[in-house]
């Protein structure tokens, strides 16, 4: 952790006020991304990973969401900026790719013009001045024949091409951070692989950091340097991908890794995690995973575990070490 962090999120809490109730969706989440690194944020549906991404962008859909904690980007705490100043970062230094390429583009505007919009907003260029940058971005996103596709409307493109248009749109102002919210979930497997390769290549060539959100461990494993495992809004395990995958410490991470189908287990039952994900905003007194954990102890049910470090690049939240007395602090 010697390098300076491009983005560090610390103590992030997202709550939703619903009538008189306050639901906590993400609690005390902290992670950091270095320049040029890819961090994978993984979790089941409803674990708050997409909302975490939107809170970094400041684009939470409802006024009733409250975000507390620090979101420090390049030395600036975004969470303390007003809307207008925050917008200067969006599409410019931080950009985002969404899950659904079919509905994320404006159906009435030519894709070339949609790609050039960040340039119009942040650099006040017109379509003509932006043209060469747009074509360049389309090339980076590996869109075939950019000059022709420039004039296409979204409905004339396939899902994979639309997602590449989204990537071109995100790259057009050469951002420092790219947030990809399940960019391959809606695509078929072949296209998925191509898009992942593109994202990895772009990150490497342009030294762009990526926050990659997914519920697919294999996808994360194939492109990320670091991984953060989220369960019901709490961070369970965080560290270098190689460490986490080879020596998972948290019971949830272990269970997740076990639940991946492997060829040598053919014919046997899959190790699915028993139980279901708690509903969004469920109030926990202890570890959120304790009701489904096979190694659950009494302490798990009433006390949220502290973070332990396996080594300097690998942290996890679990009570298992505490009983044997070798408690470590981060």
């Amino acid at each position: 952790m010697k390098n300076k962090f491009l983005l560090s999120v610390s103590g992030l809490n997202i709550t939703l006020e619903k009538g008189s109730k306050t639901l906590t969706i993400v609690r005390d989440l902290s992670f950091s991304i270095r320049q040029g690194d890819i961090l994978g944020l993984i979790g089941e549906s409803g674990s708050g990973k997409s909302l975490t991404a939107l809170s970094i962008m400041g684009l939470l859909p409802n006024k009733n969401f409250r975000v507390t904690g620090d979101i420090v980007f390049n030395g600036v705490n975004l969470n303390q900026l007003n809307k207008k100043n925050r917008r200067k970062y969006l599409g410019n230094e931080i950009s985002m790719i969404f899950q659904e390429p079919m509905t994320s583009l404006n159906p009435l505007v030519q894709v070339g013009k949609q790609i050039s919009e960040p340039l119009k907003i942040h650099q006040s260029l017109n379509d003509k001045q932006a043209y060469s940058s747009v074509i360049k971005a389309m090339g980076l996103a590996e869109l075939p024949n950019p000059e022709a596709i420039y004039n296409y409307y979204p409905h004339q493109l396939s899902g994979g091409l639309r997602q590449r248009v989204m990537i071109a749109m995100a790259l057009v102002c050469t951002p420092k951070l790219l947030i990809a919210d399940e960019p391959t979930t809606a695509l078929d497997v072949v296209v998925q692989k191509e898009i992942l390769t593109s994202i990895k290549k772009i990150s490497k060539e342009l030294n762009i950091s990526v926050l990659f959100i997914s519920h697919d461990l294999r996808v994360i494993k194939s492109i990320c340097n670091d991984i953060a495992v989220l369960y019901a809004g709490s961070l369970m395990e965080y560290g270098k991908c190689t460490h986490v995958f080879s020596k998972p410490q948290n019971e949830y991470t272990k269970a997740l890794l076990l639940s991946i189908p492997k060829p040598e287990q053919k014919g046997k039952l899959l190790d699915a995690i028993p139980g279901i994900v708690p509903p969004t905003g469920h109030i926990f007194s202890g570890c959120p995973f304790s009701p489904r954990c096979k190694q659950v102890k009494d302490i798990c049910k009433y006390k949220m575990p502290d973070f332990h470090s396996e080594n300097e690049n690998h942290f996890y939240a679990c009570h298992k070490e505490e009983e044997s007395g070798e408690r470590k602090n981060t």
Partner: protein, 313 residues
């Protein structure tokens, strides 16, 4: 281009069917035009002469063809009540209705665009709810009541506009256009109310779409998101409604023309019905049908222009 051609062909087909239907309807209607013109006390010779003059002795299909030929030659027949060529009457009435329609349309478009935007942006708070509530009120108020209310307030109490005696364009162009302000407003209010409700709902629906979030993620200001992305998509269904409103106004706002004493198509229609002026009514019915078909055709073309996804099946 193929799209326009197909639509055009369809419109012509509809027009032909309508002209046959209108013609047939007037043959079935009770009441003989000859009796209407001559009254009951007339000689058989006179009746026979007039029947011949009006070509009523010819077979139906021949009379239909004569009518269509006449329309293409600009000969629309002679009005029974006015004893004047129908074309001459129409050419004096049409400009009046068109002026009224254009002025109402300017009001409708500007009021509903502005208010629709405000209401759509504030759809789930008090401002939007108030605007929609007021719109509900004005859609429910009958138009004759609104007209009378306008006359009482602006003409009798405030004395801003003069109503009652129509000012011809030849007398005073300024007076002519000023005269239309109140009636145009009376037409615009209920129609705008409908359109505002529709547009604001459409804007609200579109604001939930994902491309709006994409636009925000590019750093677009709320205003830019609204104008460049949201409204553009929301306008598509509203254009259909606007087309219906335009057709409605062009066919003469019967109540408004009657109350404000405007010699337009609407009043002509009422008088012709009262006088059983069959040649006049036949042409007016076809005119109204043609206006609706032409407006629908135009709306289809506009659709094609704003929505690249529109294709003909």
């Amino acid at each position: 281009m193929k799209y326009i051609f197909t639509k055009l062909l369809m419109s012509v087909g509809v027009l032909i069917v309508i002209s046959i239907l209108v013609f047939a309807t007037f043959q079935i209607l009770p009441g003989d035009p000859v009796n209407v013109i001559l009254g009951t006390n007339s000689t058989p010779e006179r009746v026979e002469q007039l029947t011949k003059q009006l070509s009523l002795d010819k077979p139906l299909y021949e009379r239909y063809l004569l009518l269509i030929q006449g329309i293409f030659r600009g000969d629309l027949g002679v009005s029974i009540k006015y004893q004047m060529p129908v074309s001459q009457i129409l050419s004096s009435r049409l400009p009046v209705t068109i002026t009224l329609a254009v002025m109402s349309l300017i009001f409708i478009v500007s009021i509903s665009y502005l208010m629709g935007l405000i209401a759509g942006k504030n759809y789930d708070n008090i401002v939007g709810k108030c605007i929609v509530g007021i719109c509900n009120f004005f859609t429910a108020v009958p138009s004759y009541f609104l007209c009378i209310l306008m006359i009482i307030i602006f003409s009798l109490i405030l004395k801003v506009f003069q109503t009652g005696s129509f000012i011809a364009y030849s007398d005073s162009p300024l007076g002519y256009f000023t005269y239309f302000i109140l009636p145009a407003f009376s037409i615009a209010i209920p129609n705008s109310a409908m359109l505002i409700k529709f547009l604001s709902g459409s804007i609200y629906d579109q604001s939930k779409q994902e491309y709006i979030r994409t636009a925000r993620s590019k750093g677009a200001s709320e205003m830019r998101v609204l104008i460049h992305h949201n409204v553009k998509n929301a306008l598509i269904p509203a254009v259909t409604m606007l087309g219906m409103i335009i057709a409605d106004i062009l066919c003469g706002s019967i109540v408004v023309e009657q109350i404000f004493n405007i010699p337009g198509i609407g009043r002509l229609l009422i008088t012709s019905i009262g006088a059983r002026d069959f040649p006049m009514l036949q042409i007016l019915s076809m005119f109204i049908a043609a206006v609706v078909v032409i407006i629908n055709f135009t709306v289809d073309i506009i659709f094609k222009l704003i929505d690249p996804r529109v294709r003909i099946e």
